[in-house]
Symmetry: C2
Subunit: 352 residues, 2 copies
């Protein structure tokens, strides 16, 4: 070890999920949307003025926060945008989980929460899901420095009732409660409606799933004005210009086209429900997912073996080698055709 290495912040490096790029592959491993972004995104891209890229973007990202505010019935200063919801959440951890007290989140959940907590030296205590992978709301009524959970939860896909969520917020008025709604548009009930009632509630969403823009890195948070101001103060002190000009322009186009958003989201929900029925017939078990993925286990076949067999056929799904969930696969809902191919393969595999 060199002398300078003693002064380095070392972390257990987070390894991002595999991003395979095989011809003819069926990519169901990172919960991307199978449909392209709204048509307006493509036209805006073609019409963009390359010359303007020499100039800094609007640091306040007003066009985008304005479009989001309008869509969600909020004021512009109740919306914060960042480089994907990961950036928004990392900023929120840094801003709001600063008490030295442990923050609380489920033991089975989005795999980044403990990574951010470790990186930022925030103590945390994981709260176990029940045997059906539901969040136990009473677990969040204890000494803590903040609460965060996804709704629907990842990687289970299970949505929590809004009354349970409100219970958790009510019990935690002296800290910030973050509801991470990356998958909310596929069937859950958003906590956005509670923002006016609870000024300690931050709701985080993303363009990566229901808005088909994982490649553009846009996430956003909604909450009361002073919450958003604290977040902006930290963001401006970290990096004033996070959203590039293309993200700002294309993001607005994606928000504007409500009809396309509804149509593609509905298609994914329909395909999910079809896939549920087919997989059930083949002996798979899973919770009733409200997300754009299913979290499945089979009564006879090991998840690890299924994962490898699918991969051989260039069908990529996600396998987590973690306690309690190491016999599950997370399968993104693709197009009808893609899910048919998956089901066909699994039919043949389970008939062997």
């Amino acid at each position: 070890m060199k002398a300078w290495e003693k002064n380095v912040r070392t972390v257990v490096p987070y390894v991002p999920g595999e991003q395979p790029n095989q011809p003819g592959m069926i990519k169901l491993n990172t919960n991307e949307n199978p449909y392209p972004p709204a048509p307006g995104v493509a036209s805006a891209l073609r019409e963009m003025d390359a010359e303007a890229l020499r100039l800094y973007p609007d640091p306040a990202a007003s066009d985008l926060t304005g479009a989001l505010a309008e869509r969600y019935g909020l004021e512009e200063d109740q919306v914060f945008v960042g480089v994907g919801s990961d950036d928004v959440l990392a900023m929120a951890f840094m801003t709001f989980f600063h008490s030295g007290r442990p923050i609380l989140f489920p033991d089975i959940t989005y795999s980044f929460y403990d990574v951010w907590a470790d990186l930022l030296r925030i103590p945390y205590e994981c709260q176990p899901l029940d045997e059906n992978f539901n969040i136990v709301k009473e677990n969040y009524k204890k000494y803590n420095g903040g609460v965060i959970f996804p709704n629907p939860n990842a990687p289970t896909g299970i949505a929590q009732d809004l009354t349970d969520i409100e219970y958790i917020i009510q019990q935690n008025q002296d800290v910030v409660v973050i509801v991470d709604e990356a998958y909310i548009d596929f069937g859950g009930e958003s906590a956005v409606s509670l923002i006016d009632k609870y000024d300690n509630l931050l709701v985080v969403q993303t363009f990566s799933k229901s808005r088909s823009m994982a490649g553009m890195r846009i996430g956003f948070a909604m909450g009361n004005k002073s919450l958003i101001k604290y977040l902006n103060d930290v963001k401006y002190s970290f990096n004033s210009y996070t959203m590039d000009r293309t993200a700002l322009v294309l993001g607005v186009e994606a928000v504007k086209d409500e009809a396309y958003f509804q149509e593609t989201t509905e298609k994914i929900i329909q395909t999910r429900e079809w896939t549920k029925r087919e997989l059930k017939k083949l002996g798979f078990h899973f919770a009733d997912s409200c997300a754009n993925f299913l979290f499945v286990t089979h009564e006879k076949y090991l998840a690890r073996d299924l994962f490898e067999a699918l991969k051989q056929k260039r069908i990529y799904v996600r396998y987590f080698n973690k306690p309690r969930i190491d016999n599950f696969l997370r399968i993104t809902i693709g197009t009808g055709q893609e899910m048919q191919a998956l089901v066909d393969f699994l039919k043949a595999y389970t008939a062997q």
Copy 2:
């Protein structure tokens, strides 16, 4: 104050510089490049596949780090990219300035260093520039937890000799030394050549100035492999997917076109030298800037008054209301025509 507000990380909010958007304005206030990005950027933008935006980008940003590595004669794993050099520098502060010992930087310098230090609770000690605004290299030979300075320095534009920079690195083998080269392509000598010799040296550059892409938010760091690995470990633990698909594609195009880069950079240098001669005739004083801006003061007129008078004519320059530099203006080098308009105005103003 609400109960939850007690647990919030509060910072003195950094206020980003003004981004005026007036018809017919001459914008010389944020050191943007007056020329558009390389022609390949515009074509790549038109040819981009909007459909692919539904997929996550490459988290390793390999195409871009590869193009940069080739351009600078390095290996791909010696290059790190981020959302503008501010993102790169913030990650570097978080990663490398972790000892609890004070970091050192000049008292007059890029205004973000103390903001990051405050945000991340890193102690720091500012080292005074000499009376001619030069860095005093001996000041950096003392107990510290890291060193950072820009070369050329901002907002003075003064470039330090590479031998002085090497002296500072030599004296600080047990910490990381960051040379922030945002403006290096306009005349300074880069420390990239020292990377193989000193494994504690990180060189940071940006696409916002010499590559005409402030609007795309691309910055990068170069150093030895283990330094870059530490930086990536922290980055992956903060936000795995920082660079969106458009930034990755357009960034490569900007790096590839060396001829255009040389041509536009040379034009800016020529215009800067012309502007120096003209402003000298009008009684302005300034250090011999090696950047794409001049840092000027006048023997008779107050900077504040000049700033306001210019603004009236929609000529925007930068004024810093800070000790030691509150009678200076920072003027970005625009096109020949823009600088002619500035000089014409100042000629009339000083002839009154």
